[in-house]
């Protein structure tokens, strides 16, 4: 009897340990766990606010290939690096002054008004369309384009934003054509840009 009791208590201890392990182990963050988007459905019509404070409709992109990037103006490294690169690639591509449009959409509408995105876009000394909107509008566009973003507090009392930094490419018909990742080589990126501007 004594033995059985020991065995049973041991089983309880093991079960408790297993339970504790399951409860205490760090939860794997899976920011990429979003609604999977069918390739053909990426994008679609939207209305946001332009740098002039007026509504910007995706209808104005009709017939124009475009590259769209989501970021925020308080982002000092990845966002300007990505946008400056897109401008540089556009110059490398040649094919006229503006073979494709570059769109910058804020994922931080609480801090980025139309003035902020407009000023930020001017940094690149080449046409970049800065867009923002109400938090609800931004959420909607993020869903359409499969974009993740999340605010992360920093030590100075402010916050940074983790966000998808992949550039999405759309052709003249407005169809999703591909992406450009930050680590991708210029040649590969240029080949993709040639495809949308063809």
């Amino acid at each position: 009897m004594q033995r059985v009791r020991i065995v049973l208590w041991a089983a309880v201890a093991i079960a408790l340990a297993a339970f504790a392990f399951l409860m205490l182990r760090p939860v794997q963050e899976t920011p990429t766990r979003q609604q999977p988007l069918a390739i053909s459905s990426i994008g679609g019509p939207f209305t946001l606010t332009g740098s002039d404070g007026k509504p910007f409709s995706s209808a104005s992109l009709a017939g124009k290939p475009y590259a769209i990037f989501f970021g925020f103006t308080h982002c000092p490294d990845v966002c300007p690096t990505t946008l400056a690169r897109m401008v540089r690639l556009r110059q490398l591509l040649g094919a006229g002054d503006r073979p494709f449009e570059i769109l910058f959409v804020s994922v931080d509408p609480e801090r980025d008004g139309s003035t902020e995105v407009g000023k930020y876009a001017e940094l690149f000394k080449s046409p970049v369309t800065g867009l923002t909107g109400s938090p609800a509008q931004i959420e909607q566009v993020k869903r359409q384009y499969g974009i993740f973003s999340r605010k992360v507090p920093d030590s100075s009392g402010g916050y940074s934003v983790d966000h998808t930094s992949t550039v999405l490419l759309f052709d003249r018909k407005g169809d999703f054509s591909g992406t450009i990742a930050s680590e991708e080589k210029d040649n590969a990126a240029l080949a993709k840009l040639k495809r949308i501007t063809a």
């Binding site: 990429t32 000092p76 490294d77 300007p80 690096t81 930020y120 940074s160």
Partner: protein, 142 residues
């Protein structure tokens, strides 16, 4: 194989205690526009000495503040974090602070930084002590 890995690991973790000799070059910061209060500065820190060193902190001229940051990207998502514990500068290695990687984040800028301007940053190293670095402001096209 395991033994080799272990040996490599031990070797890698063994820090060199000689005297570091730091050369800082190509220090630049991205220009800003009116209303933009943050930017990033980049540079190369070449440790030609026989000992490791560590960049412990960076200060900008008040009211601007500087912090060591690192941008990381995985699964297409980029994150920017403060660099805890500073930046290790191994002997005989040139460490680059560059776009999309380690950088000095500067916040609290009161006026736009214009191309051609020079900004001072005060770097503090664990062994080499304080250093002032002249950072030239440039366009973002690099």
């Amino acid at each position: 194989m395991k033994r080799i890995l272990l040996a490599a690991l031990l070797l890698a973790s063994c820090s060199k205690s000689g005297t570091p000799d730091l050369r800082i070059s190509d220090a630049w910061a991205r220009e800003t526009v009116a209303g933009q209060t943050a930017t990033a500065a980049y540079m190369t820190i070449d440790n030609r000495g026989a000992g490791d060193d560590r960049l412990v902190s960076v200060e900008a001229t008040a009211p601007a503040k500087a912090m060591l940051h690192v941008s990381e990207s995985s699964g297409g998502i980029s994150r920017m974090r403060e660099m805890g514990g500073g930046l290790v500068l191994p002997a005989g290695t040139a460490v680059q602070l560059k776009p999309g990687g380690s950088h000095v984040m500067i916040t609290g800028l009161e006026a736009p930084l214009q191309t051609g301007e020079v900004m001072k940053l005060h770097l503090r190293f664990e062994k080499s002590g304080p250093r002032e670095v002249a950072v030239s402001v440039g366009a973002g096209g690099r």
